[in-house]
Symmetry: C2
């Protein structure tokens, strides 16, 4: 029941709580890039409890593509370890609902889909280390050029768990050669956000034939003196969930992340109750 629609620009200076409120009351349904600066943004995977143990096993065995930052109680939409009064049914601006591995609907609210057996898993996202790269004077090409980050299926096997298995999806960012070591060190400091790169240099070593043909997102220019650097990508768990063809599974829509009250550079992603 939106009383008034607000724009991305209207929310740029808003707190995480206020952005979630605008999303919850239906006045904002856009992407979350650049909102609530300094706060952790999260990928979302919601699935029936009977698959949750295997999914957590899968994430814990593949921590670089699947860094778990929060797990909800079964049937409880309050993701209390990530912030104050988060209702996971309403506080993300766009959701994708999959049934048997097929996209059934894309909706701004999953109150009608929510069920007592659902478990929410929140996963870290690359915004965290990209912000740290930018703060340290390392360029991030797709942000400079207002594109989506290029994403590729690699040939890197994931460690399986139950019905969850597959190949790792990676993102690519061209980094000036003299800044590659610094970029590795900076991102290594964010294990909750994919950590250090998976690979540097020749794309064919990780099964990528052509950097100008990403599987998702947009191709970006690699300038002279720059080296392609590859990080594990949060699309990995989404693909793995779809391939597992669960009867029901809900994710955020790309770019429509959950915004937490936790600082993106906090040592842990748990809001202290002390």
């Amino acid at each position: 029941m939106p009383t008034k629609t607000v724009s991305h620009a209207d929310l740029v200076a808003a707190s995480a709580v206020d952005v979630r409120r605008a999303i919850r009351n239906g006045s904002y349904a856009g992407h979350t890039s650049g909102l609530a600066a300094g706060k952790l943004q999260c990928n979302l995977a919601i699935l029936p409890e009977r698959f949750a143990l295997d999914f957590l096993r899968f994430c814990l065995r593949n921590p670089k593509p699947c860094p778990v930052v929060a797990v909800g109680d079964t049937g409880n939409p309050d993701l209390f370890t990530l912030g104050h009064d988060i209702d996971i049914r309403t506080d993300v601006s766009m959701y994708r609902v999959f049934r048997d591995g097929v996209l059934a609907e894309e909706v701004p609210d999953i109150t009608d889909v929510w069920a007592d057996d659902l478990v929410t898993v929140a996963l870290g996202c690359s915004f965290t280390f990209e912000n740290a790269l930018l703060r340290n004077g390392i360029p991030v090409r797709h942000i400079e050029s207002a594109k989506n980050v290029p994403m590729f299926r690699s040939n890197i096997d994931l460690v399986p768990a139950g019905p969850f298995h597959g190949k790792m999806v990676v993102t690519m960012r061209p980094i000036p050669e003299h800044q590659v070591e610094q970029a590795k060190a900076i991102s290594a400091g964010f294990p909750q956000a994919h950590g250090a790169p998976i690979a540097v240099g020749d794309p064919t070593r990780i099964g990528i034939a052509d950097l100008s043909q990403p599987d998702w997102g947009d191709a970006v220019e690699i300038k002279p003196g720059e080296v392609p650097v590859y990080w594990a990508c949060g699309v990995t768990p989404q693909n793995v969930l779809l391939d597992a063809q669960l009867p029901l599974c809900i994710t955020h829509s790309p770019g429509h992340m959950l915004i937490a009250d936790v600082a993106e550079d906090a040592e842990t992603t748990i809001i202290s109750t002390n």
Copy 2:
């Protein structure tokens, strides 16, 4: 069927695999401190699958005391993400078997106790960051004085999950005042091993009345110019498991850790299969 008993000294230069073999074949039943230098050592919690999702939730909500470094498949004693041919029923030198929250037996082999519904969770341990402190010239008092680290019940609430809840147990190490910041930075680099300290200085701020009266382990001297520094402790999940009075739960015996093939300073604790 030990063919020959070996001593701790005999194994000091042995590989992780060779130490596990000596333990498996019954020729070594001692503690693992100082063995397989540079390899990750782990706390162990084995519990029935129906409690495993809540226990993983608990660990993920309390990552400093309970850093998960591996989770086994239900009923599978091979902890394959931590190393080659690990059989969790035989490769730890001493186990504690608890029934309904009470210590039932302490045994060097749990083959007879193992069941198809058991899930193994391995958790990081403080050996990892203690070794890093020592490498950087920061003294570790209980090691210098050949004592056990002093451990205390704090008043810090854990974030609950299902039947798992309680207060955090902390360890205390006296650190020279001028090295406290360095010790914080070094240990922060090991999130898989309790990470940065929980508190520094006055023990009463975290509910500890008397540093000379630890709840477990030995009291150690705090010299002039030193500050007590507190880290989250791996005894925390053990206490929480006991308080939950599970019908069956198995842990390692104190000091008798699981030795992995993973390097203790690796970015992730997963052995690559690529």
